[in-house]
């Protein structure tokens, strides 16, 4: 399992498309920084292909006032959970 980390909003950047292309069937995707905009209910359809393997960073959602608007299909983790995800993954790939 590989952890992919995406820090761009699907409202601005198309890098999410390359990220999804590069993900294997067990890989996980963590949305961080402006990437957490992709976790909103209105945006999460962009990540339908990785449903169940989609995570978002709690601190970045909270800082933006978006924690209550995060779609329920997204697993919210804090920075300790981020570390755990990197422990569990064979390696990480960052997309920006």
């Amino acid at each position: 399992m590989i952890l992919h980390i995406l820090n761009r909003s699907p409202g601005t950047s198309l890098v999410y498309r390359d990220t999804l292309s590069a993900m294997g069937p067990e890989d996980r995707l963590l949305l961080t920084e402006d990437g957490v905009l992709g976790a909103l209910t209105s945006q999460v359809r962009h990540f339908q292909a990785v449903q169940g393997r989609l995570f978002a960073l709690r601190e970045d959602l909270v800082a933006r006032g978006l924690i209550g608007r995060c779609d329920e299909t997204v697993q919210v983790v804090d920075v300790d959970g981020f570390v755990t995800l990197t422990e569990e993954a064979d390696k990480t790939v960052s997309w920006f």
Partner: protein, 125 residues
């Protein structure tokens, strides 16, 4: 809030970046406050991810760096009352003006191009 047709202003600042991820939004708001302090009439247009600036309940960022919520509260103090928000961006994010922490007027594409036409100077952030 003035309607777009009144807004024959000195400066329109277009804010397209979300808070926290970069300093664009903060630096754009700083430019707005300084221009207002210099006596210019300033309008703000929140477009694309920039509408996230208007979401209530924002806090400090990683390591406690300041967000932009406090700066937004200062806009009224500086008489910056012409706030516009891109209606299509609101739609895209599934939001309405009631979701925003400040009263901003939703504007369509034709109105956005008119805002740009009637302001003397345009800065994008």
């Amino acid at each position: 809030m003035s309607s777009p047709s009144d807004a024959n202003g000195d400066l329109l600042i277009i804010l397209r970046h979300a808070p926290h991820g970069s300093s664009w939004l903060r630096e754009g708001l700083d430019a707005a406050l300084v221009a207002a302090a210099f006596g210019k009439s300033v309008s703000l247009l929140f477009q694309g991810d920039g509408i996230m600036a208007l979401i209530p309940g924002q806090g400090a960022g990683a390591l406690g760096q300041k967000g932009t919520a406090a700066t937004l509260d200062m806009l009224a103090m500086y008489d910056i009352e012409s706030l516009y928000v891109d209606a299509s961006a609101l739609d895209r994010f599934g939001m309405t003006p009631d979701d925003l922490q400040l009263p901003a007027l939703p504007v369509d594409d034709a109105t956005i191009s008119r805002l740009i036409a009637v302001h003397r100077l345009i800065l994008t952030f």
